[in-house]
Symmetry: C2
Subunit: 329 residues, 2 copies
DNA sequence: CTGAAAGCGCTAACAC
DNA sequence: GTGTTAGCGCTTTCAG
């Protein structure tokens, strides 16, 4: 593996000049530039990035923390972040936290060990006070996440609006007995969304039945479980705000298995507008999240932080959600 | 940000000793080890990984090339690779090629620039001769991919068996007019699978109708397109080997929209056994790929290559597929 | 415009 | 057991 010295020797120039060519510096004569380029080509030289990183004290890599890559929402988010990053000469390092506090902390250490220049947290498991110290090592931006105490920028969706919009729609369709599913994590997101649900219910004087609040609702299997629970109830909800297309899909699949009709026996509304939503029968009414937009905005924010080297402050960028009406409610 | 020298100074010892503690070397007295550990804690010291990488000439990072992260197959594959990697103190760097030759080449350069120690290719876009030269910079292992000329290990599924098994099942169910969908890439995978289909058809003397061979079948939308094409044919296939659960889901969704019954009017068999397969109505008969197993095996192979520093040679590890029968055929 | 030289932070011989 | 020293490969002053 050739080094910069090999190139310099072959080109009959100093390492400094070669370095200038590599880094597209001005003030290198066209002629010498050519001979450096030729030497590089002849040797098949590629700069050693560890050496560059060490010297420049930066890596041009941004860590992206996600809870699960197999969740399509995050897969699409990552793709959009990656695209924006590439446009700006940055690379992303995907970190799958698996909803694990310790793993999250381990990944955040990448910032301290200078393995990455910044971190985008699309998932937040630890309390902010334990994360806070790491802020000193580089910019952190929250993406689609929320922590009331966090002192960093956060790009997010208006979950309150989402909860409100979805629930209002169910109310408008004439449903009054409306259940609600959520993940059961301490995230601020879930909170906001729930408040939206509460607001929409309260506005019409509809009661919230504690038995119709289902937690730990993440995946298809959870949806099935919830549907079975509902089927066994004497007093059943007529409609369900599931908070996730996958949960909704599970509810619908299980309802059909039980011989129930959707939306006649149980109306369902999802969240995300994943591809599953339009394939399932009946089509899933859901709330679309503008994934590409949130990714682009997040990357823009962190890049500004990186280039201006300003200290990140709390600042919230909020994007709107959109209701997609299909047949499930 | 404190450096190893700061730690050494605070502990009243040399940098070498601190380094020994960091790297868990033997021959450090318990007492000094303690004081180093204390100094590290007090300073909040974390070793700079660029410096470590440069010095050790390795990064403990493996690049994983996938064509699309939003394809659940690859999302799950990545998770299983990551898990195995973590168990062995390695990290993975996910590289989303988007089926793009140039991007693939760019990522392969990470090996030459020493940004990664090895590469797992779960996607291969370029011809082998253009990739070959990179082999010299570190181990490359193919995962679920295939290139006849490749001179490196490859862990894959028996696609021939998959094509054969799926088609035979359709034949056994009494279908004789069986169509076939594929992605249309030059990959050896697709070839093998097609040969399995051919074999199963040929065995029973069933003809292959060229009009029933559909290419560019990747996603739900493609499935819808194909179903519409079929609907417009005078001589229609009765069953379809789709090569992908997503394509199958699109076919089924569109068939229902057209008022057709599955499997009575058109039987469908998928590939992957993704979660969509059990949620869709009717349940999708499909071929399960042992994703966790293929990931684990691949990681094992590359780790061996990394530790033994042997020159990688062509060697094929083949894992079996499994037929999952549901209602769509 | 170009080169000499210092040093980023760390590890590994080698001495003691 | 521990310290001294010489780089890993690169960029960036500073001179000229």
């Amino acid at each position: 593996m050739p080094t910069i010295s090999d190139v310099a020797r072959l080109a009959g120039l100093s390492r400094a000049t070669v370095s200038r060519v590599i880094n597209h510096h001005p003030y290198v004569s066209e002629e010498k530039k050519e001979s450096v380029l030729k030497a590089m080509r002849d040797l098949g030289y590629i700069p050693n990035s560890a050496a560059q990183n060490l010297r420049k004290q930066k890596t041009n890599i941004i860590a992206v923390l996600v809870p699960r890559l197999t969740n399509p929402f995050f897969a699409y988010l990552v793709e959009s972040l990656e695209e924006k990053a590439a446009e700006n000469g940055l690379q992303i390092l995907i970190c799958n936290t698996k909803y694990d506090k310790q793993r999250e902390l381990d990944f955040l250490r990448y910032l301290k060990s200078k393995q990455v220049d910044g971190v985008i947290m699309a998932s937040i498991e630890n309390r902010w006070d334990v994360i806070e110290g790491i802020t000193l090592s580089g910019p952190i931006v929250l993406c689609n996440e929320y922590s009331p105490e966090a002192k960093v920028p956060s790009v997010r969706l208006n979950q309150y609006q989402g909860g409100y919009m979805g629930t209002s729609y169910l109310v408008k369709q004439g449903y009054t007995k409306i259940g609600y599913c959520w993940g059961g994590i301490l995230s601020g997101l879930a909170h906001d969304r729930y408040h939206g649900y509460e607001k929409a219910m309260g506005e019409k004087g509809l009661p919230i039945n504690r038995n119709w609040l289902f937690e730990k609702a993440f995946c298809i299997e959870d949806g099935r479980r919830i549907m079975n629970k509902i089927a066994s109830m004497a007093n059943k909800p007529e409609a369900l705000f599931t908070g996730s297309d996958e949960v909704a899909a599970g509810v619908i699949a299980e309802a059909k298995k039980l011989g129930l009709r959707v939306p006649e026996d149980i109306a369902v509304i999802g969240f995300d507008d994943q591809s599953i939503a339009e394939v399932i029968e009946p089509g899933l009414t859901t709330i679309r999240q503008p994934i590409a937009e949130i990714g682009a905005k997040t990357m823009e924010v962190i890049i500004n932080l990186l280039t201006d080297e300003q200290i990140p402050t709390k600042k919230i960028y909020e994007l709107p959600l959109e209701l997609i009406v299909r047949e499930s409610s």
